[in-house]
């Protein structure tokens, strides 16, 4: 009380929560989230690891903060991409928002993992979801349908779906083992052959992430739209 100047700071910090978190995101972007270590982060900032604790709650605080940075970035991207209200249907409006969110997530490949591994329902996350909810409501969906719809979208609402077990058939060993077990999964093999045939110039990694993401997204949005129309 009686804080005349409005600041009680006795010394100007060389470090800042912002600076710490921004560098944390950079490290995770460049070298993966496992490289994001208190000592490494301190080194990168020209500081001892323990000094970080004056600006951040600890490792968990850094992870939370890094996600927060990404979500802010997501918010910006979504805001820029959002069409003025009242143009087109709710379905396409949501589609645009989510695809904008996805462009951010693609810049921070570690973020999905981290977000899934902890309870991320911060203000920035909630505001993004809130925006989608608003569009659904404006489109005439019932609260109940909105609720189920959010669950159906799942993490897709943030622009990502964690993918299990891409083929990854690079090295000879993998190839050999694959041909070993191929008889036990004939349908999968047939599918690979067929789809690879359609798109010859891709020996591996032949699944187009963007296409598959949009396919799944549209499947869900179409389903919701149909349920909304039926009601």
């Amino acid at each position: 009380m009686g804080d005349t100047t409005g600041t009680t700071a006795r010394r100007r910090p060389g470090l800042t929560r912002e600076r710490v978190l921004r560098r944390a995101v950079e490290i995770a972007d460049q070298d993966g989230v496992t490289a994001l270590t208190m000592r490494r982060l301190g080194d990168d900032l020209g500081v001892e690891a323990m000094s970080l604790y004056h600006h951040v709650r600890g490792k968990d605080g850094i992870l939370d903060g890094a996600v927060e940075v990404v979500l802010d970035e997501l918010h910006d991207a979504v805001s820029r991409a959002a069409a003025p209200p009242g143009e087109g249907g709710w379905r396409d409006a949501i589609r645009v928002r989510i695809l904008a969110a996805r462009t951010v997530m693609l810049r921070h490949r570690w973020a999905p993992q981290v977000m899934e591994s902890r309870n991320v329902m911060t203000l920035s996350a909630a505001r993004h979801v809130d925006g989608v909810v608003a569009l659904m409501r404006a489109g005439g969906l019932s609260w109940d349908l909105v609720h189920h719809g959010l669950h159906a979208l799942g993490s897709r609402i943030y622009g990502f779906t964690l993918e299990l077990g891409e083929p990854e058939g690079g090295d000879d060993e993998t190839q050999a083992m694959l041909s070993q077990i191929a008889p036990q999964i004939p349908n999968l093999v047939a599918m690979f052959m067929e789809v690879a045939h359609d798109d010859p110039d891709s020996t591996l990694g032949w699944c187009d992430d963007q296409t598959e993401f949009e396919f799944g997204l549209d499947l869900v949005l179409d389903g919701l739209e149909r349920l909304a129309a039926k009601a």
Copy 2:
């Protein structure tokens, strides 16, 4: 060569890969995957941590193996649940399989996290997917639609979807903060109020996982069915 008895074992092991992995799963089930550590696992088996390395590739091998155990369990459950072929549509047949898979995942809450965090495309996983592919093909879906369908299902095919940020509004602090930011997420708040009103006896955790899982699953399966019919 010339191994007359068929076994070269010089000494009966007190440990076994199977015993190690089974205990690993039990630890993860009981105390979470962070409690699954080499020393802890060794202790539980009455053995030093380093002894485990003669039966398992290391920590990664244990994690992979534990997932493998779960996937085998999943395979059993799915096999038992699978209707004899030719009964009913492919859609419902797949639905039954996936819901059976889900019962297994609910017994091993750590498994989704671990499965997402590494490339799980082992034989048991592949066979499960292969079975779903077979049903889709029998139902007349094109290879292309099958492929997209797998992506759309995502990890739901294994019976789980990782959920982001359940409300979790237990303690007073959370409640206070929530009422603080409520004005910034009016639509979400309205939805919570409405849905909570429909189901009064649930102050929190009011999202029925099973219901939501099935809703999302049906949304995807319905979408695929419609696309298949249109072709």
